[in-house]
């Protein structure tokens, strides 16, 4: 399939998925508590997913729905997990925050900020140790680079020349803190340079740029060039989670970034190139809507786990 169309399709799915969760979380009967969504950051997920192979490993963080969908995880099973149902990827043990989909090598979603980065060193080590051709992509936010785990992991990955792509989604905010409130560093990428690691800064709202950067990063990793850090400059349209009032996010700033919508950006370039009509865009939008609607129906119709199932799956 045409790569642009694949990217567009995935971004539309992620957008609808996250908007639906945002709506559902505000209808208190439907979903308990908060949702952490990636609305506005779809290009990073879609571009990365399109660049990866099924055998590649994904390690991600709390803002994971887009990453998981783009890695090929089933919307039905993600949604069911978010609903806490037995049919979810993790039988209701994980919920929205910790989904693992080993079926597509999405092996860890961790909500301990920075917690996944050392694990990515381990999965990448396994590739090197066994001589298998796969890379690990590890997503984290700008805030995670303030954690010790980030620095320990990057140093070791660099020292051992491991096939891992550290993918920093710099969405301007860490909780309620702007970049300049938690670090003097202007670009997160400079932190990786201190470990003699290759770095790249990419427009995280340009799906095609993300795809091209990750495709090259993957090929370089597999050729033995060692790890690298790719910093994606993007923006979180919503708050940290769906209960966040965003009092600290200037409205005009949000408006500027909405003007850089990754979906509209790709749509415009495809339209200009004559590879997308308005009708076709609407059709893709409608398909995404149906997929998410199906996922919600599947989740709502799925059984809750029996309470005693809480005792299962602790040990092998």
């Amino acid at each position: 399939m045409d790569c642009n169309k694949q990217l567009l399709r995935m971004m539309l799915l992620i957008r609808r998925f996250e908007e639906t969760l945002t709506d559902l979380s505000q209808e208190s009967q439907k979903l308990g508590g908060m949702m952490i969504v990636c609305t506005g950051q779809e290009a990073v997920a879609a571009g990365t997913g399109a660049a990866l192979s099924p055998e590649d490993v994904l390690i991600t963080n709390h803002r994971s729905h887009g990453h998981l969908l783009a890695k090929g995880a089933e919307p039905d099973f993600i949604m069911a997990e978010i609903f806490g149902r037995r049919t979810g990827y993790n039988k209701g043990k994980s919920g929205t925050l910790h989904i693992a989909a080993p079926e597509v090598n999405a092996l860890c979603t961790t909500t301990v900020v920075g917690g996944g980065i050392p694990i990515a060193v381990g999965t990448a080590f396994a590739a090197q140790y066994t001589g298998k051709d796969f890379v690990t992509v590890c997503f984290f936010g700008d805030g995670a680079t303030d954690e010790g785990s980030f620095h320990e992991a990057l140093n070791l990955a660099s020292l051992w020349n491991l096939p891992v792509i550290f993918a920093c989604e710099n969405n301007v905010y860490t909780g309620a803190q702007r970049m300049e409130e938690h670090t003097r560093v202007k670009d997160i990428a400079t932190r990786a340079a201190s470990y003699a690691m290759r770095t790249e800064i990419v427009d995280g709202n340009d799906a095609l740029a993300v795809f091209e950067a990750m495709k090259k990063a993957r090929a370089d990793c597999l050729s033995g060039a060692g790890p690298l850090l790719v910093e994606f400059k993007t923006y979180r349209w919503g708050g940290h989670n769906t209960t966040d009032t965003q009092a600290y996010q200037p409205k005009d700033e949000i408006a500027v970034w909405k003007g850089r919508c990754p979906i509209q950006k790709l749509k415009a370039s495809m339209t200009e190139a004559g590879t997308l009509t308005e009708d076709e865009f609407r059709r893709l939008e409608s398909e995404a809507g149906k997929q998410v609607e199906h996922a919600v129906q599947f989740a709502e119709a799925s059984p809750w786990p029996e309470p005693a199932e809480a005792l299962e799956d602790v040990y092998v």
């Binding site: 693992a100 050392p118 396994a126 066994t130 992991a153 140093n155 070791l156 092998v316």
Partner: protein, 329 residues
């Protein structure tokens, strides 16, 4: 039979398992080329035997070492990583407690994390409280982990081989003093089951539950108490979690008295768990209240007389055991 220290027994287990299974590798600070070249140390000679691909010296990065193990394990390798001293575990704790222990559960039982974290521990080496601090109760409080603390070299060999073959994360805690005490170790390939306590000495009048190097203290006390006419049964827990409740309860039902002896500090120590277990499930068998013998609630001090004061000894245990008889009905 060969006489080995605990460290040498661990070394033999590592050699045998690495030879048996190519998925096994070891990593840690100084596991290849360390500052000591002492044949009594657990990883001595492994680099020469297995090469740098499988014996990985790491930077001083405990979180990365533990994360390496978690990631390698989920991919099907069998990492055995070393955290040099128990207090340094706190730097690796996020990876061990939040990830190694929980990720299988969070996967809904789809993923497995067959890793071993070897941790050296114990007071009595004159290194002070940031090298010596027995934290086994912290680890035992993390569902998803198995916590093993061998007391004798033969058990160490068999338990480590079981740990490496186990599909779950196992924390394997080695007391450093035991690295200097040789004992008989079978030469053949054998495993010792995790989750099974061992009655190291049978007795009639009182049960002493203990683990790790306090086993030696229990034996010293038992020898003297026998001369006073008190017959002591010594249960070596060997594994804290999963806890072998039946062996503990069976012994207490037989003797009717219990003293728990551990090196870790008293409050929040695992001895409280043993006492609670017996209170819940064998209260009717008790002829006297349960006693705990443990270190005082202080950091491990440096100076020799202070460190000796910290460590529970045979006199502490004997006094506690005698108390069980004076308070009997």
């Amino acid at each position: 039979m060969q006489q080995l220290t605990l460290g040498q027994a661990v070394n033999q287990a590592l050699r045998e398992e690495m030879a048996r299974d190519g998925r096994v590798f070891i990593a840690g600070e100084g596991v290849g080329i360390g500052i000591h070249s002492d044949p009594r140390m657990a990883t001595h000679g492994l680099l020469e035997a297995f090469g740098p691909r499988r014996v990985r010296d790491t930077p001083v990065s405990e979180a990365a070492i533990a994360g390496l193990a978690v990631g390698a394990a989920v991919m099907g390798l069998r990492p055995v990583v070393e955290i040099m001293f128990n207090p340094f575990f706190t730097i690796a704790a996020d990876q061990i407690v939040n990830h190694a222990a929980k990720l299988r559960y969070l996967s809904g039982g789809k993923s497995a994390f067959p890793l071993v974290v070897r941790i050296k521990t114990g007071a009595g080496i004159g290194a002070g409280c940031q090298h010596s601090h027995n934290l086994e109760a912290w680890l035992a409080h993390s569902p998803g982990l198995k916590v093993v603390m061998p007391s004798i070299p033969a058990d160490a060999k068999g338990l480590l081989k079981s740990a490496i073959r186990d599909e779950n994360p196992v924390i394997f805690i080695e007391d450093m003093i035991l690295n200097f005490v040789p004992g008989p170790v079978p030469e053949e390939d054998y495993t010792t089951p995790i989750g099974v306590a061992d009655i190291k000495k049978t007795g009639r009048d009182v049960t002493v539950v203990t683990w790790s190097k306090m086993l030696g203290v229990a034996f010293k006390a038992a020898g003297q108490l026998e001369q006073e006419g008190i017959s002591v049964e010594i249960v070596d827990l060997r594994t804290l979690t999963p806890l072998d409740e039946n062996t503990v309860l069976g012994s207490v039902r037989k003797t009717g008295r219990l003293a728990v002896l551990h090196e870790a500090t008293r409050t929040g120590g695992f001895g409280g768990e043993i006492a609670a277990l017996v209170a819940e499930k064998a209260f009717d068998a008790l002829k006297a209240p349960v006693k705990r013998v443990a270190a005082p609630d202080i950091p491990v001090p440096f100076s020799k007389p202070l460190e000796d004061f910290y460590l529970p000894n045979e006199n502490d245990l004997m006094q506690a055991v005698r108390g069980l008889f004076s308070s009997a009905p």
